[in-house]
């Protein structure tokens, strides 16, 4: 059943929302035992919310009435522990809803829990978990990664049998990457399209909230609900929100799609290549004009640029976490420096520490110009090159990730640099703030393969249109 059909059922009174949410929560618990997609199941508040909807109160007529939704742990839900997957924020119960969460609530959606992720989003496999957290497992093979950092969101979107949309968050590919590894649709919108208010920041100039679901229509509907200007968030755009679901049925004939030359060949798994080419053929047969394009600077400089800007911002964003006011704390001994150093030494995971050090270094006096300032300039070049390509194309297609979901024991042996290279194709649209979408386009040895479509700013409608053509 699609989300739209489910919501219609609720509107028509054919679905008992309370009964349905009980069933959903039970399923969540069973799945969670095996796959670990949820850091927390918010059973009580979900039931209370369902009762409100069923009594025709708040959200009963909403666009997502009664729909079970899950929220990435880095997105604040009022009254529900929101940790961003970190021991540092264990016990942090936000006194407010994130902008996207309050929009979901108003539309009648019911929050079932907080999904697992890499600590603060620092990873591509959901294996850089915070202390005391466990890595979620791939829905097709529990010895493999479900991608990251929104791994729990994508895994739950695949595994949950009832209609459901997961909210993920992407800084450098954290929506499309796990969507690809879990065989679901993930849409990362334009930077500024969805409010970041209430998102526990990773890299504020890069962070974007977006939906993950089973079908393009499901995520299009969810995006329409959460998108739009928010007076509490300065970087949200006032550009009008389109009716994304209406793009599902729009003819794609005549659209021009650029095939990203640099994303094929050396370093890309042949099975991945084959499936993505299959998708390209599918688009061509639907009348899409597909031709090769090149994005030299984005591909060559995306990773270094991203791994300077994102940690620079992250290291300042994480500074506030010092054991005062909320989250982890220690017995107060010694002065402030001793105290916060102790809290941070104990409660941050290894990758969080690495990125804090990396980001502190790249903005230090004497290195700042060579790294942080230069990276911001290269970022501008990356945006310019994309903008040029979009003069000739409506979208760009490439594999989402160049490999199949790896096994946990393989991931263990990767160096940090090899690890970061997994994001090679996803960081550049993220640096440029461009909307991008993962579409499942095939399988190899039972493991899903995804293709990534990228469009110009605020052209989420075209993404939906092309994505639907690949379903």
């Amino acid at each position: 059943m699609s989300v739209a059909e489910f919501v219609k059922g609720v509107h028509d009174g054919q679905i008992d929302v309370v009964e349905h949410i009980h069933r959903t929560l039970e399923e969540c618990k069973i799945i969670n035992k095996e796959y670990g997609y949820l850091n927390l199941i918010s059973e009580e508040s979900a039931i209370a919310q369902a009762k409100l909807v069923s009594k025709k109160r708040k959200g009963a007529k909403g666009a997502l009435a009664g729909l079970p939704v899950s929220i990435k742990d880095s997105i604040c839900v009022k009254g529900v522990e929101s940790t961003a997957g970190s021991a540092m924020l264990k016990g942090y119960i936000p006194p407010f809803d994130a902008g996207c969460v309050s929009r979901l609530r108003q539309a009648g959606a019911i929050i079932v829990g907080k999904t697992a992720q890499d600590e603060f989003g620092f990873g591509s496999f959901s294996t850089n978990t915070g202390i005391g957290f466990t890595a979620p497992k791939n829905p097709f093979d529990r010895l493999r990664s479900c991608g990251g950092s929104s791994g729990g969101a994508a895994g739950l979107a695949q595994k949950l049998s009832v209609p459901h949309v997961a909210l993920g968050e992407s800084t450098g590919g954290s929506i499309v990457n796990p969507a690809s590894f879990c065989g679901v649709v993930g849409l990362c919108p334009t930077y500024g399209r969805v409010s970041r208010y209430g998102l526990i920041d990773y890299g504020s100039s890069l962070d974007k909230v977006g939906p993950i679901g089973k079908t393009v229509a499901d995520v299009a509907l969810a995006l329409k609900v959460i998108a739009g200007f928010d007076e509490k968030e300065s970087t949200t755009a006032t550009v009008p929100v389109e009716d994304y679901p209406s793009f599902v049925k729009k003819d794609v004939a005549g659209l021009r799609v650029g095939i990203l030359k640099e994303s094929f060949g050396e370093g890309t798994d042949s099975a991945v290549e084959k499936s993505v080419w299959g998708a390209i053929k599918q688009l061509e047969s639907a009348g899409v004009d597909c031709r090769e394009i090149s994005l030299k600077i984005p591909i060559e400089y995306g990773i270094p640029t991203y791994y300077i800007i994102a940690p620079s911002e992250a290291s300042t964003n994480l500074a506030k976490l010092c054991g005062l006011r909320y989250g982890a704390e220690e017995k107060i001994e010694g002065d402030f420096n001793t105290y916060f150093s102790e809290v941070r030494s104990r409660a941050f995971g290894k990758e969080a520490k690495r990125r804090i050090m990396l980001g502190t270094f790249t903005r230090m006096a004497g290195y700042r110009d060579a790294y942080y300032v230069k990276a911001t300039k290269v970022r501008r070049l990356i945006i310019d090159e994309y903008k040029n390509v979009f003069k000739k194309c409506d979208a760009v297609i490439s594999p989402t990730v160049s490999i199949l979901p790896p096994r946990f024991d393989e991931i263990k042996n990767l160096t940090p640099a090899q690890n970061y290279l997994i994001d090679a194709l996803t960081v550049s649209p993220n640096l440029a703030g461009l909307p991008h979408l993962n579409m499942p386009v095939g399988k190899h040895n039972g493991l899903p393969i995804g293709a990534m479509l990228t469009t110009d700013h605020f052209k989420e409608g075209v993404l939906v249109q092309l994505g639907a053509a690949l379903e």
């Binding site: 924020l89 968030e233 290291s315 300042t316 006011r325 402030f336 903005r363 700042r368």
Partner: protein
């Protein structure tokens, strides 16, 4: 600083003492710089706070446009060039008063730069930059040093500050004080600073010729008087140190107002590196030519221009004009009184009599909050000679204790001057008769004795006699 640098500096500076200031002015907006919390109200700790000014994970700052307007007016009033964009940066350092362990400030592109403010003697104090930033929380130290603990009150966290950085153009503590006076005067004119409740803070760079201008930075001096005290102390300290043959070092010092001394602060090397990045949570705001033009057009006539006009239009002495123009509402009062009566009357009663009362009460005309009409009523009584100057002075004092109608008060307490010459002559005659010795002395030309007799008349009449008339009458009586 090495010798070579010291030599260059010695050539560069013409003065013995060099002072530069970094001043933090709290702008009097209703709400904080990046959230809707009130800047005024309950003093109960941590009551005027929200997720933003407490730095909760997930919260995001949103610029208060009123603070930009206030900052823009200030930068323009100081003659600064305005940056075409308003951009904020994160200034990172770990300190318990910072909710986010970074301060949202401006780094690359300050709101204003390249301004100046002239001092009395023509010295130009150059304004290097004027920028907006958020105030940290206040720390309340408990218990003894080393044993104690610190409480944090976030009510202040996020209040809008304008930081004004000057070039090292001041040649002593007195000039620094004058500069601050001028600055506060401008702030008061712009109505962006509340002298009563808003606080002024400064960091000061001080160096002297004898040491080759080796600079000490005194951090975080709070309040007007303390700034001058600290600077005076620091200049003396440096001079004495050099005289004793000590070598000064470039250092950061703290001011202890209780002990009245500055002392070296132990600072870690890393604390100087703030790792600035642009604040990605805020968008850059265009400051258009129209915005600047509008703000410029809406600036009031500023103290310097007003002083000049007072001298030209009312033939007031420069020093008097300067003092009258230093406070916006006082300047307004001056013009009202000068027009209603005349300018020398206005100078006498405002610049001298009123100022004396206000100074004694350690307040200002606007802060005292007296209804202007009551004062004008009193001045009418003076002008019409209904009361003597002595009575008027007394009434002026009383007005600031509890306001009343001078006219009614004079009637009720029978304070009108004795205009009946015959009656006054009777009193004078009686005084002369009662003081034969003094009368004799006056006759032999002792002015002291005359003043004594006049005083007696004034006393007898409870100040209602016109001293000049009393003098005439006494002389007349004695001549007979």
């Amino acid at each position: 600083m090495n010798t070579e640098n010291a030599m260059t500096n010695a050539k560069q500076f013409a003065s013995d003492v060099i002072i530069g200031l970094e001043i933090h002015v709290q702008l009097n907006t209703k709400t904080k710089l990046f959230c809707g919390c009130s800047t005024q109200g309950s003093e109960e700790p941590n009551t005027r706070t929200c997720d933003v000014c407490l730095g909760f994970p997930g919260s995001k700052p949103v610029l208060n446009k009123a603070a930009l307007d206030a900052g823009l007016r200030l930068a323009l009033a100081l003659g600064c060039t305005i940056s075409p964009k308003l951009i904020f940066s994160r200034k990172s350092y770990f300190y318990p008063d910072l909710a986010k362990n970074y301060q949202i400030s401006q780094h690359e592109l300050p709101l204003g730069a390249g301004g100046k403010l002239a001092l009395n003697d023509g010295t130009l104090v150059h304004i290097t930059r004027a920028h907006l930033e958020e105030d940290p929380a206040s720390l309340i130290h408990q218990g003894s040093a080393g044993q104690g603990y610190v409480l944090i009150d976030y009510n202040r966290s996020g209040n809008p500050l304008c930081e004004i950085v000057t070039a090292p153009d001041m040649r002593g503590a007195e000039q620094a004080r004058e500069f601050l006076n001028r600055l506060v005067s401008v702030l008061e004119y712009l109505e962006i600073f509340d002298l009563g409740s808003c606080i002024i803070k400064a960091d000061a760079n001080v160096s002297i010729a004898e040491s080759g201008y080796i600079r000490a930075e005194i951090k975080n001096i709070t309040g007007f008087k303390e700034i001058e005290r600290a600077l005076t102390f620091e200049v003396e300290r440096q001079k004495l140190a050099v005289q004793r043959g000590e070598r000064l070092v470039q250092e950061t010092r703290g001011w202890d107002p209780a002990a009245g001394v500055t002392s070296a602060l132990r600072l870690k090397e890393t604390e100087a590196d703030y790792g600035y990045i642009l604040d990605p949570d805020l968008v850059s705001v265009d400051i258009t030519n129209n915005m600047v033009k509008d703000a410029q057009a809406n600036l009031p006539e500023l103290p310097a221009a007003k002083t000049k006009r007072f001298v030209e239009q009312y033939q007031v002495k420069f020093e008097d004009a300067m003092i009258l123009a230093a406070e916006r509402s006082l300047a307004h009062l001056f013009e009202t009184v000068a027009k209603k009566f005349d300018s020398s009357f206005a100078v006498r009663w405002l610049r001298h009599e009123l100022s004396a009362v206000l100074n004694a009460k350690q307040t200002t005309w606007s802060a005292a909050g007296l209804d202007e009409r009551l004062l004008l009523e009193l001045f009418e009584l003076v002008q019409s000679r209904t009361v003597t100057d002595l009575t008027a002075r007394d009434l002026l004092q009383k007005l600031f204790e509890r306001p009343f109608s001078p006219k009614e008060y004079v009637a009720k307490h029978k304070l009108a001057s004795i205009s009946d010459r015959g009656e006054l002559e009777k009193i004078a005659k009686k005084i002369v008769d009662e003081n034969p010795q003094a009368a004799e002395d006056v006759k032999s030309g002792e002015s002291k004795a005359l003043n004594f007799l006049i005083g007696k008349v004034m006393h007898q009449t409870k100040g209602k006699a016109d001293a000049g008339v009393a003098r005439q009458l006494i002389m007349k009586i004695l001549e007979r």
